[in-house]
């Protein structure tokens, strides 16, 4: 009798395992945005464990201001972004936990970005943050935070938890791309043509204010929890205010956050107040009011990299065989961006 039970239970377990394997494959094909969100978000999990010096968590200003392969070429540091379009700030803590499972010794840069009112972030956008994360308890907590903060319905909650619900209807327009989703292998180095090509004079958008504005309740809670977590876990964290020209309310929120962070004595890199020191030019280095283009990105990359090396003493990893993939990433990336770089920038790279 016992034998029969064991056999039956084994069959059930094997069936479920078989389901899990197939489900993972189906999800991999169907789920998630195409294009650069895949590179940025899923790409992070491609990195071998404990191979990164630093991780930069944030939204689109993050991956349009840090050029990982070029930083590696110049300084030999391995730091990449773990960022996504419109990634909300309240997701930082959960993302930090998820990232630390793979890169436990890295320095974490957290962008002060992605602040919204409680009904301002659509579910579709929220999906970008969660779709490519491997299923885990942490991911479930992240989704709970997002649903609670942005007041998503129960249906939307399930949809975030099991994105196949949202994406399964794509089956009728699958192309080869979906079956061969490949990493660009540029370590998150951004390659969009807007980023490489366009320039906008954003001098007129500038809004300087030193006022503070109380954060929406759910954001304040998330901020406090994030800071407490970093303190309890002794995370090496640096907060970064990206170079961007936002409206008055957003700048006031940023100021409030900076105040709060200062209470914990965490380092803050304020790219707005360090604007001139970084060497940024609001007429040539941006492609819109909150994103640097390749030129602005190079300057910020240089600045951040030097800061990190001075304060955290990373080893120079160039030349070793262990980091050959970074060399490859550089080779690939430079081929793509070389036509857009100025003489000076190319020289800087040598």
């Amino acid at each position: 009798m016992k034998k029969v039970y064991i056999f039956k239970t084994m069959k059930v377990i094997v069936f479920l395992l078989g389901f899990y394997v197939q489900f993972s494959y189906v999800s991999h094909v169907l789920v998630g945005d195409t294009g650069y969100n895949f590179q940025q978000s899923a790409g992070f999990f491609e990195e071998p464990k404990d191979s990164l010096d630093a991780v930069y968590i944030g939204a689109s200003p993050t991956f349009t201001s840090w050029v990982a392969p070029l930083a590696y070429k110049k300084y030999g540091i391995t730091m990449r972004t773990f960022a996504n379009n419109a990634q909300p700030f309240i997701s930082a803590e959960n993302l930090l936990k998820i990232a630390r499972k793979r890169q436990s010794n890295a320095v974490y840069l957290i962008a002060i970005n992605g602040l919204y009112e409680k009904n301002e972030l659509s579910v579709e956008t929220a999906h970008r943050t969660t779709d490519f994360l491997p299923h885990s308890l942490e991911r479930a907590f992240l989704i709970y935070t997002l649903c609670h903060g942005f007041q998503y319905s129960l249906d939307e909650y399930f949809e975030l938890l099991f994105p196949i619900i949202r994406y399964h209807s794509r089956w009728n327009s699958l192309s080869a791309y979906f079956f061969h989703r490949d990493y660009e292998r540029t370590k998150g180095g951004f390659t969009s043509s807007t980023f490489l090509n366009e320039v906008e004079n954003i001098a007129d958008y500038y809004c300087a204010t030193t006022d503070r504005e109380p954060l929406p309740g759910f954001t304040q809670d998330a901020l406090v929890k994030l800071l407490a977590y970093c303190k309890n876990e002794n995370v090496k964290v640096v907060f970064v205010l990206s170079a961007q020209y936002r409206n008055a309310q957003t700048v006031k929120w940023y100021n409030t956050i900076i105040d709060e962070v200062k209470k914990y004595n965490y380092p803050i890199i304020n790219e707005m107040s360090d604007f001139d020191e970084i060497g940024l030019d609001d007429k040539t280095d941006f492609y819109n009011d909150c994103h640097t283009n390749i030129h602005g990105a190079l300057k910020i990359t240089d600045y951040l990299a030097q800061y990190l090396i001075d304060n955290y003493g990373f080893e120079d990893k160039r030349g070793g065989t262990e980091y050959a993939d970074w060399d490859e990433a550089y080779e690939k990336y430079i081929e793509i961006v070389r036509p857009y770089l100025t003489e000076e920038e190319l020289e800087w790279l040598q």
Binding site: K8, F15, G18, F19, Q22, F23, V26, L30, V123, L154, D155, F158, E159, F162, I164, I165, R166, H168, S169, W171, N172, S173
Partner: protein
């Protein structure tokens, strides 16, 4: 709570776990609690009061009736029966048919020259009232006729009335069929649970992959019959038959499969109805429990009543034996079919389209039977071959399809207009010029719809031989597992659920 939704599956899984942890003596109590929970998640809470009233009155009347019968007091028993019937049917009639009465009163008054404008009521009915009322009425009559014992326990009666799998859309079970199973303890049987879940899987596939997809095309065409005339109308009519079938029978599969997991077998409601060869047979294979209920609780009592027996004698004396054989039963059937139509909805398109139309077909078939036999003999038609059976099935399908147009189009005159719109424009080109891919389903989806109908056909053909699950269980493991994985991923990938799809509200759920 939609029975094809994730919350429902979680609910069901939870009830299953709790059910088999409970000691066998209390499993039925667990079912009662689950039923209350299901009601809460599916309907406005206050409407449960109607169901509570039904349970209280039914328990009282059944108990008193049984007592009166053992004492030989048949008049008292009859009074208790009448009370039980009046209260239950009264609640149903008030909640579901007041507006029908009001509309007809207004109309008649206008015709008589004294127009009234009684406003229609906006009453919310409890989940499953059309179904559980039938069960309850059947139960009271069965107790009165001595067919089943009365249930004296209030909670047990409540479980019979409100057993959650039946609350959505039936089946209408007889007390005798379920009483032993419902209150007994059930041992955990992995084979039975596997079978139950397999059936649920097939039901979900039918609803989400087949029915929901058909609904898109049907709704597009019927939503704009001015643009989509001619052959479009008939395409919609045909597809609607399959939509309704897969929707309703899919629901039954989910419900019967779920109940089977508890070890409780509810009666079947469908038996591959499109293979029927006569309209009469069709109604023995479509919504079986409703037809059986009408037969046992309306038709038989009517035909055996004093009035009918007297009428039969009179007809035999005046119009001969043949008339006496046919007319009383045809009139009896009229009562049944009027009720059948009325049960589907309080409006004339249901009474006429789902009621009178089918009555007419069955009565005509009966009366013209000798004529048909003569024609068949004359034309030397072979009635034992596949082509004849196919012809019969197609004939039944077409006739039922017309009745169902009245059901779907929700308005007697509207349906007639649509039928007219289907007769005039002559546009067979729509089948060849790609127009079919512009009805809300793109190419791949349309093809998938057709393929899924073939899958349905194959499964239906297999069902004629033996339970398909048993047939599959006899095969080797890799083949079985391919089928189950195929169904699961078929639903996950091709199911029409999630954002962007309208929650295909199950058609019979509003009853």
């Amino acid at each position: 709570m939609l029975i094809t939704s994730l919350p429902f599956l979680l609910f069901f899984a939870a009830t299953l776990g709790i059910y088999y942890i409970l000691p066998k003596r209390y499993q039925w109590v667990g079912l009662f609690v689950f039923s209350i929970a299901f009601f809460h998640f599916s309907a406005a809470d206050y409407t449960i009061l109607y169901a509570v009233a039904a349970v209280l009155v039914t328990t009282l009347c059944a108990g008193r009736m049984a007592k009166a019968k053992t004492e030989g007091n048949s008049r008292s028993a009859k009074r208790w029966l009448v009370l039980g019937l009046v209260v239950n049917l009264g609640i149903l009639a008030t909640l579901k048919y007041s507006n029908f009465v009001i509309r007809n009163v207004n109309f008649a008054a206008t015709l008589a020259g004294k127009p009234t404008d009684i406003p229609q009521l906006d009453l919310l009915a409890p989940l499953g009232i059309s179904f559980y009322t039938m069960s309850v009425v059947g139960y009271l009559l069965d107790v009165y006729w001595g067919i089943c014992p009365a249930q004296t326990n209030l909670v047990k009666t409540a479980l019979f009335v409100g057993y959650w799998p039946q609350l959505t859309s039936g089946p209408i079970a007889r007390y005798n069929e379920v009483r032993e199973q419902l209150y007994a303890g059930h041992k955990f049987d992995s084979g039975q649970i596997a079978f139950g879940m397999q059936r649920m899987l097939w039901g979900i596939f039918k609803k989400l992959v087949i029915s929901a997809r058909l609904a898109v095309v049907v709704d597009t065409i019927y939503g704009d019959t001015a643009t989509y005339g001619g052959y479009y109308i008939w395409l919609a009519a045909v597809l609607f038959m399959f939509q309704l079938y897969t929707d309703f029978s899919g629901c039954m599969d989910i419900i019967l499969g779920a109940s089977e997991c508890y070890g409780i077998r509810l009666p079947e409601n469908f038996r591959t109805p499109f293979f029927s060869r006569s309209v009469q047979e069709y109604w023995q294979r479509w919504h079986i429990t409703l037809g059986a209920w009408l037969k046992d609780y309306i038709l038989y009592p009517v035909l055996r009543s004093r009035a009918w027996k007297d009428m039969t004698k009179w007809i035999k004396a005046h119009w001969g034996k043949k008339a006496a054989k046919q007319i009383p039963s045809i009139l009896g059937m009229l009562c049944v079919w009027l009720l059948m139509g009325l049960w589907h909805g309080g409006s004339w398109n249901y009474v006429l389209g789902m009621g009178v139309w089918f009555w007419f077909l069955i009565a005509a078939a009966q009366v013209l039977d000798p004529v048909f036999k003569k024609v068949i003999a004359l034309l030397k038609v072979n009635t034992e071959c596949f082509s004849w059976h196919l012809f019969q099935s197609l004939r039944v399908f077409t006739l039922a399809m017309i009745g169902n147009m009245f059901f779907r189009l929700n308005g007697f005159r509207k349906t007639l207009r649509v039928i007219k719109a289907g007769l005039f424009p002559n546009n067979p080109e729509i089948f060849f010029d790609g127009s079919l891919f512009k009805l809300g389903l793109d190419g791949p989806n349309f093809i998938l719809m057709v393929v899924s109908l073939f899958v349905l056909l194959i499964v239906s053909l297999l069902q004629e031989k033996d339970s398909v699950r048993k047939q599959i269980a006899r095969q080797n493991l890799p083949f079985r597992w391919i089928i189950w994985y195929g169904l699961i991923f078929g639903i996950l990938i091709f199911g029409m659920y999630g954002p962007g799809y309208n929650a295909a509200d199950f058609i019979y759920q509003g009853f």
